[in-house]
């Protein structure tokens, strides 16, 4: 169950998505790749009405 998704940049370019989950120290850093299941989960999370947080 995804709690939050945030874009991570490095040197001014997109690097990955940071996914956090409730009540755990586990996090996922997912690529922008449609074959990646975690990215697929992000797309579903967005389709469910959630919003990806922009990078700092």
């Amino acid at each position: 169950m995804i709690e939050n998704v945030k874009k991570i940049n490095n040197l001014g370019e997109f690097a990955c998505y940071k996914i956090t989950y409730p009540n755990t120290i586990r996090v996922t850093y997912a690529p922008h790749d449609e074959a990646n299941t975690d990215y697929q989960n992000i797309l579903q999370w967005v389709a469910d009405g959630n919003t990806i947080q922009e990078a700092d």
């Binding site: 169950m1 997109f14 690097a15 990955c16 120290i25 997912a30 690529p31 922008h32 790749d33 990646n36």
Partner: protein
Amino acid sequence: MSKSQIVTGGIADDAVTANKTSGVARPNVNPLIINGDMAVAQRGTSATTLTDGSVGFHTVDRFAYNDFGTPSSQHTMTQESLTSGNAYINGFANALKMDVTTAQSSLDADDAVTILYKIEGQDLQLFKKGTANAEKFTLAFWVKGTKTGTHVVELFDRDNNRHVAGTYSISSSDTWEHKVVNFPADTTGVFGNDNARSLDINWFLSAGTNFTSGALQTSWGAQSNTQRAAGQVNTVDNTSNNWHITGIQLEVGEYTSSTIPPFQHESYGDNLARCQRYYQRIADGTNKMIGLGSAYSSANFFMVIDPKVTFRATPSIDISSASNYFLVIGNNQSDFVDDFFLEAQTTNQMIRMANTSDVSLTQGFAYFTQTNNANAFLGFSSEL
């Protein structure tokens, strides 16, 4: 000796068929089910409180907890070591165990819990599904359940939203039994010849009426949820209930309990390597080496990881993220860092990670990295 002298002795020539000769009938060299003997558990051997929201991989590689709706039942999943019983004396030293820790005696209509196995389409082409020459499927496994009665196992074609179900009966409570379940061929709906998820195998543990109110779909057909698990007993209705499984094999063609070819045991190393196409845990616990990198600048540390085997697709980083869980060491100094993130240049053959939030290093110097907490871990996931 001439060819004419080679005969089958007292056995009629046409009585010797492929199905009667162990292993010869298989078109596949390696078992289609990876880790069917439950030997590999990279993420750990026990996971507690699996319930609504816990869908995913927790212990034994390739086998996921899965649910539908919002089930309230809770489970502990373990990689179990076997020392007795029929599965053990038939060569299986490990099993996957689901222990009900919070019971759900009354299921909501849309609730269901399954153990899920997913297969890439390119590994299923030998079934010739969707063609005139489509093959039957046979699924065999050892199972032990507290709850006796009818259980449902389903094949779900994700490419074409088609499914078929079979049943097996647990005859004796808490006793290992070997089951062979046949599924018909499907001349409709081709499996994609790619690295995507094409076939799901669902072993149902519970199913609400949205999954049981129709007649069980025993021939391939378009998705009809009410026909997915008709007849499934509720194995989650009592905290005394356990369900165990091991020795899973998927075969091309139709077999019986008498003709099913033997389970294809692999070495642990071969099994692990096949699991690592989908997940690689490279560090677990404190003071475990991760790899070598360098300081691009004082506040930007890059590191490259060469994976053990090529991933199915570009992997994610699966990591514990907490204060000082990792160390970056070099140039007579060390820095604590909380985690590492994935860089966009990562491919399924090479991983680049970085930390830009915690380090203060000397530009251009090399540094190695390691874990720094008993609860720290780092893995890469390319699961289906």
